[in-house]
Assembly symmetry: C2
Homo-oligomer: 132 residues x 2
């Protein structure tokens, strides 16, 4: 470090591309999907760089990471709104759901057990109408 450690990550074309690819909406996308999408868009980028960048973004809490039933890591932007997803096991179609009573229920269960600072992880997997 030269002077102040206000270093921060370097601004590279690849990092911007990955961040932009995540930027669209709150859909989940696997590292491989992002890599393929960027390659298709003409952005040449290495697979390892995608993984590294996603890991860094996740560490910085800029994006969220879950696991698909398949075992792959999937990422989404976790900007502000806290919502969950209903994911089609077959085609991957995703619907955002905003639980009306769920958050309250979680808090209640928690305080009944003396827990505080509750965070929760909830995903629904199923088969969408088009795939039935």
């Amino acid at each position: 470090m030269t002077s102040t450690d206000t270093a921060g990550p370097r601004r590279t074309r690849q990092r911007a591309a990955v961040s932009a690819a995540m930027g669209r909406n709150g859909e989940f996308r696997t590292a491989q999907e992002i890599h393929a999408a960027l390659r298709d868009s003409g952005d040449s980028i290495g697979l390892a760089t995608v993984y590294r960048t996603l890991a860094q973004l996740a560490e910085a809490h800029e994006i969220d990471c879950i696991r698909t039933p398949d075992g792959q890591a999937a990422y989404r932007r976790c900007s502000s709104g806290h919502h969950h997803h209903l994911i089609c096991r077959n085609c991957g179609r995703t619907v955002e759901i905003s639980p009306p009573a769920f958050e309250a229920w979680a808090d209640q269960i928690a305080s009944e057990n003396g827990f505080t600072q509750i965070d929760h992880e909830l995903e629904l997997f199923g088969r969408c109408a088009a795939c039935s």
Copy 2:
């Protein structure tokens, strides 16, 4: 098939061992953990057999399968009660919770969106009374 297809899986020592290893409580265990545990218990069993047996038990809905944040598959017995966990972020203490209305809510959300065959993943993380 010879006559009636009441075949069912064969009763082998290994299958019994895996099923027994899952039998304790409703905790999640990875395939590798189960394999190691069985080996330690003196039960000689192949890793592939553990994976195959777990996959079959899951297919038969005898056990449930989720993914750890680590990316490994974890299984638990889903005999009757479908419950979730409230986990202390600090000390790891775990409380089993049985959602009264949650399952119904999940099903409703799903059918509102045309989804069927719903499976869900829900974990609550917080800080328990002893750690506050």
